[in-house]
Symmetry: C2
Subunit: 252 residues, 2 copies
Amino acid sequence: MVQSAAPLNLCLLKVSCAECSLMELCLPRRLDPAELTQLEGIVRHRRPLQRGEVLYRRGESLRALYAIHSGSIKIHISAPGGSEQILGFHLPGNLLGLDGCGTDSYTCTATALETTSICELPYRRLESICTLVPGLNREFHRLMGRAIGAEQAMLLMLGNKKAEERLASFLLNLSRRHGERGFSPLNFNLSMSRHDIGNYLGLALETVSRQFAHFQEAGWISVDRREISIHQLDALEKLVAHSLEEEADNIA
Amino acid sequence: MVQSAAPLNLCLLKVSCAECSLMELCLPRRLDPAELTQLEGIVRHRRPLQRGEVLYRRGESLRALYAIHSGSIKIHISAPGGSEQILGFHLPGNLLGLDGCGTDSYTCTATALETTSICELPYRRLESICTLVPGLNREFHRLMGRAIGAEQAMLLMLGNKKAEERLASFLLNLSRRHGERGFSPLNFNLSMSRHDIGNYLGLALETVSRQFAHFQEAGWISVDRREISIHQLDALEKLVAHSLEEEADNIA
DNA sequence: CGCCGGATTGACTGAATTCAACCGTCGTGG
DNA sequence: CCACGACGGTTGAATTCAGTCAATCCGGCG
C-alpha cells in the first residue's frame, strides 16, 4: 500500500538517512549532520521482503533493530494453540524490535504485509554509539517512550471502546499516519486483511466487515476491498471523541 | 498491601540502593559498585504518598522517573468525559514515568493505592549519567523494553481472552510478582478495588465479583474482601494455558 | 446508631461472536 | 480461452457472554 516516493530500483541502493524522505519521522529526527554521519555508519540495507516474509521471529536473539523504508509490517505473537494476536501495524519510519531490548530476544514476530524495504541497525553497535552521541540516545529514548505511549493508547481502546469506535479509531490512526508520511490521509489502501484488522482490534472479522458497511451506508467512507476513501473525517472523529484522543504518534 | 521488610520509619530515611532489598528488580540490577554510586548520587527520597495521592499527572512535564520502594501505584488516564482507564498496577522495584520519555510530559496519571514510598530520579540527570555509565544506559533500555513487553502481554490478553481467563491471568501475574519480591505468592492483599480490577481488565466490576465467586466455588482460591489465598495455582494456569505465557516481568 | 462506599447477587438486555451460506476476484491449469 | 478452485470478503440468523440495572449485604466510621 505505501509506496516510496523514490523509484523502485532505489530500494536496493543505499539511500543515506540524510537523503531519506523519512528523516523527520525516523530515528535521525533531530540529529545534527555530524551525529547523522555516525548513525549512517552502522545502517545496513537488505533485499526487500516479499509479502508474508518474516523479518524476525519471536525468540530469536536480538541482533538488530529495523526501520521500515517502504512497505508495511505486522507485529504479532503466534500462540502454540494456533491462535495469533496482532499487536501492531508499522509504516515507513517506524522502528521495530524495541520490545526485544527487555530480554535480548524478540518477543514478537514481524511479517511483511507487502513488498517492504528495511534498514537494519545492529543493536550492539547502536547501543555503543548511543553512549557516544547523546542526541541519538535521547532520540532513542523518545522512540521507546512513544512505543509505550502507543501501546497505552491501544490498551485504552481495547478496555473502553465498542466495535464501531475501535474501527473508527483504527481508520483515523491510519489516516493520520499516512498524512504524516506525505500520502493522502483520505485515500489509501489497507495492506492488511479483515482478519488482521479484527484480530488487532479484538473483534471478529465479520464485525469489521459489518462496521465498514455501516460507515459506508452513513456516507462517511467508501470501501472496496482494500481501498479506502474517507469522506467525513469529522464523523469518525466524533465517534471516538467521547473517549480520549490518542496522542501517540508512532507504531500502534 | 505490600509492606517493606524495613521498619516503617526507615521509609523516611535515605535507604541506599546498595542496601535496598529491591536491588535485583530495580534499575540498579546489574550495575557494579562504582556505577551504583553514580546512580545513587541522583536518587532523591520524598515523604511517602498516602492512599489516593497523586505522584504525577497526565500532561505535567517530565521532571523525573520514579521507582517504588514500598506500596503500590495505579497508572491511569482520565478521559474528559469522566471515564477512566487503568493501564497498570505497579509494585516495589517498578520504574514509573517511562511513557513520558516520548513526549517530555507524562501521558498518564499515577495514583497511590496505599501508603507508598518512592525514590525519585530526576530525568535530565538520569539521561546525562546514562551516557557516562554504559551499563546503566543498557539497563535503562532493558527496563523500557520490558515495559513494552508487559504492555504487549496485556494487549494479547485484552484481544484474546474471556472474562474468566483475564481474571486468572491477573491473579497469576500478581502472584508471580509478589513472589519475586519475597512475599508469599499464595496469600496476599489486593490493594485495588473491584472497580479498578474490572476497569484494568476491560470488564464490569460485577463480572469480576462473579468470577471471583466462581473460582472460589471451584475451590481454587479463597477471597474475602481484599484478601486473596490461592489454593490451586495450576488450575488457574490451565485456564490461561491455551493462550500464551506472559514473559514480561515488570509492570502490567 | 445510622450512614456510606465497596462488594455481592440476581434478572434482564444487548452487542458481538459464531455458524453458515454466498459472492466476487484472482490465479492456475486443463 | 475458459473452467475451476481457493481465498478473502460480505451478509444473515442464532447464540452467548458479559454489561446494565437494581436490590441487598457488609464493614467501617462519624
